[in-house]
């Protein structure tokens, strides 16, 4: 692979210009008539990850707050409607729901953190490369940007994300084998696949810090006098990257930046001199040094702060998750419960799908998976 440093300066600063590959060839350019220099765009800047899944911390917080509020409002409304239906049918109101304590954003994140670590455990059991696990975790993180645990239980979404990530990362496991290992029926895993894909906007490629970390590791070998300790440092860096998966870092920074910050931290922990590499790689000229000090270093420091201070870096206690989970069971949306009155009512009054489609001929037999797309969207 190309070295990680290629993309390190990220956002279109002068740095990216300097790193941009320039090819002199009539053939490589679009015009066939003249030789000219054409800068090729940074690869990472063309990725869906860069173009669709980058946030600032405040934008993330705001989005999660809104989604959480919206979910709570909807569920409240649906509970009230369900009760009205019950009364209309001569049934007593269900008052178990009057004193509901809905989940806060932080509680949801704790629950997600708990299930993310469950995913990591299973992937370790499978002995798959780290990036497969990381992809599954990022899928779940992306899914829960616009959905809440009150809408879809993370333990269900988790399984679909794992099954999907095994496919997208070329480690396909048949649904039978998967459901045998997980001990969950195949349908429960497949039924969410459409929904997960839609929420991922069909962006299946996810870049992780693992690969750039190897790139840096190779690169650092050029200026080391102690391979053994460098190796040890690298292993520690990978542990920091594992930890980074449970934070918001994948939404905030580029994989190569996270990798370099993990290395810098690991150097500190293993008393390995980072500056020697930094001077060789990033501070070779005065202008490069200035750019490193003013642009890259602050980014690295910000990432390191998350990796050392963010409470989400710590395991979520099982008792904490169980408590949240218990409350989650209470505040489920009745509109998503197939046995509820409003579910049945809405199902009946729902327009009969989009049958204006012209092509859908013979092979479109109704199937129980048909309802999936339309399912569960009450408003």
């Amino acid at each position: 692979m190309s070295t990680a440093a290629e993309n390190i300066n990220g956002k279109s600063t002068d740095a990216s210009q300097e790193n941009t590959t320039t090819v002199t060839s009539a053939a490589v350019t679009n015009g066939t008539d003249s030789k000219k220099e054409v800068p090729l765009k940074q690869l990472f800047e063309q990725s869906t990850q860069y173009n669709h899944w980058r946030y600032t911390q405040s934008a993330l917080n705001q989005l999660r707050g809104k989604v959480n509020q919206e979910a709570i409002a909807t569920i409240r409304q649906n509970i009230e409607e369900e009760n009205q239906q019950r009364v209309a049918q001569g049934l007593p109101r269900d008052d178990s729901t009057t004193s509901l304590k809905f989940l806060t954003v932080d509680e949801e994140l704790s629950l997600l953190g708990f299930y993310e670590r469950r995913m990591a455990q299973i992937f370790r059991y499978w002995k798959l490369p780290s990036y497969v696990m990381a992809t599954a975790i990022v899928y779940m993180k992306r899914f829960f940007l616009e959905n809440t645990a009150m809408d879809y239980h993370p333990k269900d979404v988790m399984l679909t994300c794992m099954f999907l990530a095994r496919k997208t990362e070329n480690y396909l496991m048949t649904i039978e084998d998967f459901s045998n290992v997980i001990k969950k029926p195949a349908e429960s895993i497949l039924d969410l696949e459409f929904l997960v894909c839609k929420n991922l906007r069909f962006h299946f490629t996810v870049h992780h810090p693992y690969r750039p970390c190897i790139g840096f590791f190779y690169d650092m070998q050029a200026v080391t006098d102690n391979m053994k300790r460098l190796q040890k440092m690298h292993e520690t860096a990978i542990k920091f990257i594992d930890t980074s998966l449970h934070t918001d870092l994948c939404f905030l920074y580029q994989p190569s930046q996270i990798a370099l910050a993990a290395i810098r931290l690991a150097c500190k922990e293993e008393s390995y001199e980072f500056e020697r590499y930094a001077n060789y790689k990033f501070r070779a000229t005065e202008s490069a040094a200035q750019m490193y000090d003013e642009i890259l270093l602050p980014i690295l420091l910000a990432i390191e702060q998350v990796l050392t201070d963010d409470p989400r870096c710590k395991e979520v206690e099982k008792s904490v998750a169980t408590e949240i989970d218990k409350r989650l069971k209470m505040c489920k949306d009745p509109a998503k419960n197939p046995e509820s009155l409003i579910y049945i009512k809405r199902k009946r009054t729902e327009p009969n799908g989009d049958d204006d489609d012209d092509d859908d001929d013979d092979e479109d037999r109704p199937s129980k998976r048909t309802r999936l797309g339309e399912d569960g969207f009450a408003e």
């Binding site: 490589v28 066939t32 989005l63 490369p129 092509d359 037999r365 408003e379």
Partner: protein, 333 residues
């Protein structure tokens, strides 16, 4: 009221409503292709409908491979994936619509190719492929049929159902890729680790086919494919391809002599043959890369590539013309 929690769903519905399927233009084992219209722009598109319902493992690997890779690739010589949406139990890929492909042109014997035509097609193919490779994506099914041609002459690489990312060491991949006539020798020998070379070999075969107007290495079984290849290019020796005998399915073959390409490609100038030869090098590590090929003198030397608008086009009859022709035939005209 627009709700955030329904974004994905609303988006999917909006996309679905923006496209209309007009008529079926092709059907394969796993997909049906329609000619369609984007209603908001009146743009003609191709809609590839993948029937997910029949796959027991959910979304199948070809669909995932195609969507995964095309979402990341934007290049004038790679087909554009405009949108993806679910409808009922089908996944729909909205792709740029292109009229014909290189196979049609090669087979249309009413068209005479000029050297500049071949040069421009090769140029566009290599540019598109270089973009894939730069993004660490292997296409793994390069053949004339998958090189689409637009009305404006642009060539675009299509059909990414076998494509995947690559480049990490020790990652095993299947050798069962690429249509046989275009399959690289390392794949025929069962290599589980390979790289750019498999796509380049295929392009070499396409290059030869453009010059010959016939498939260059048409084997009918894997064994015969090797035989056809070795007859044409000579059986590789240990010096040509060190440690080829370490490949899983390597077999000792009859030693055919190496015949110079110019004996078969009698009309081709030396720069053409030199580039062709460097694409058809047995040892994948010595085979030319897409980037290197683009820098080859072949592309600087005269003749210049034919301008896009002057490239030969395969004219397919419009439905109306076809209907009239059939009518005329029926009337015995």
């Amino acid at each position: 009221m627009a709700s955030i929690r329904n974004h994905a769903e609303q988006h999917n519905t909006a996309v679905y409503r923006d496209y209309k399927k007009d008529r079926k233009v092709g059907e394969g084992a796993y997909a049906v292709v329609y000619l369609g219209t984007q209603l908001s722009t009146n743009k003609v598109v191709a809609i590839k409908k993948i029937k997910i319902g029949q796959f027991k493992d959910g979304l199948d690997m070809s669909a995932i491979r195609e969507v995964k890779t095309l979402q990341e690739l934007r290049h004038p010589n790679v087909i554009e994936l405009m949108e993806v949406y679910f409808h009922k139990t089908n996944l729909n890929l909205v792709l740029e619509y292109l009229e014909s492909d290189l196979e049609m042109i090669i087979k249309d014997k009413s068209i005479v190719f000029m050297p500049g035509d071949v040069k421009h097609w090769m140029l566009m193919t290599l540019r598109g492929l270089d973009h894939c490779h730069r993004n660490w994506i292997l296409h793994r099914d390069m053949k004339p049929n998958n090189l689409l041609l637009g009305r404006d002459g642009q060539l675009k690489i299509a059909d990414f159902g076998l494509a995947r990312d690559f480049g990490d060491r020790n990652r095993q991949m299947t050798a069962q890729v690429v249509t046989r006539w275009y399959r690289a020798p390392e794949l025929l020998f069962g290599a589980r680790e390979y790289g750019f070379g498999v796509d380049i070999w295929a392009i070499g075969c396409i290059f030869a086919e453009l010059l010959l107007r016939n498939p260059y290495l048409p084997g009918s079984t894997d064994m015969e494919q090797l035989d056809t290849m070795f007859r044409a290019l000579g059986t590789p020796t240990e010096a040509d391809w060190p440690s080829m005998d370490k490949l899983p399915n390597h077999i000792q073959f009859k030693q055919y002599p190496k015949t110079p390409l110019r004996l078969l490609f009698t009309a081709a100038p030396p720069d053409t043959l030199e580039l062709l030869e460097s694409m058809l090098i047995y040892d994948p590590n010595r085979r030319i890369s897409a980037r290197e090929a683009l820098l080859h003198p072949y592309f600087y030397n005269k003749p210049r590539p034919t301008p896009l608008e002057n490239l030969p086009k395969h004219v397919r009859d419009t439905p109306e013309v076809a209907k009239q022709k059939r009518k005329a035939e029926a009337m015995g005209a």
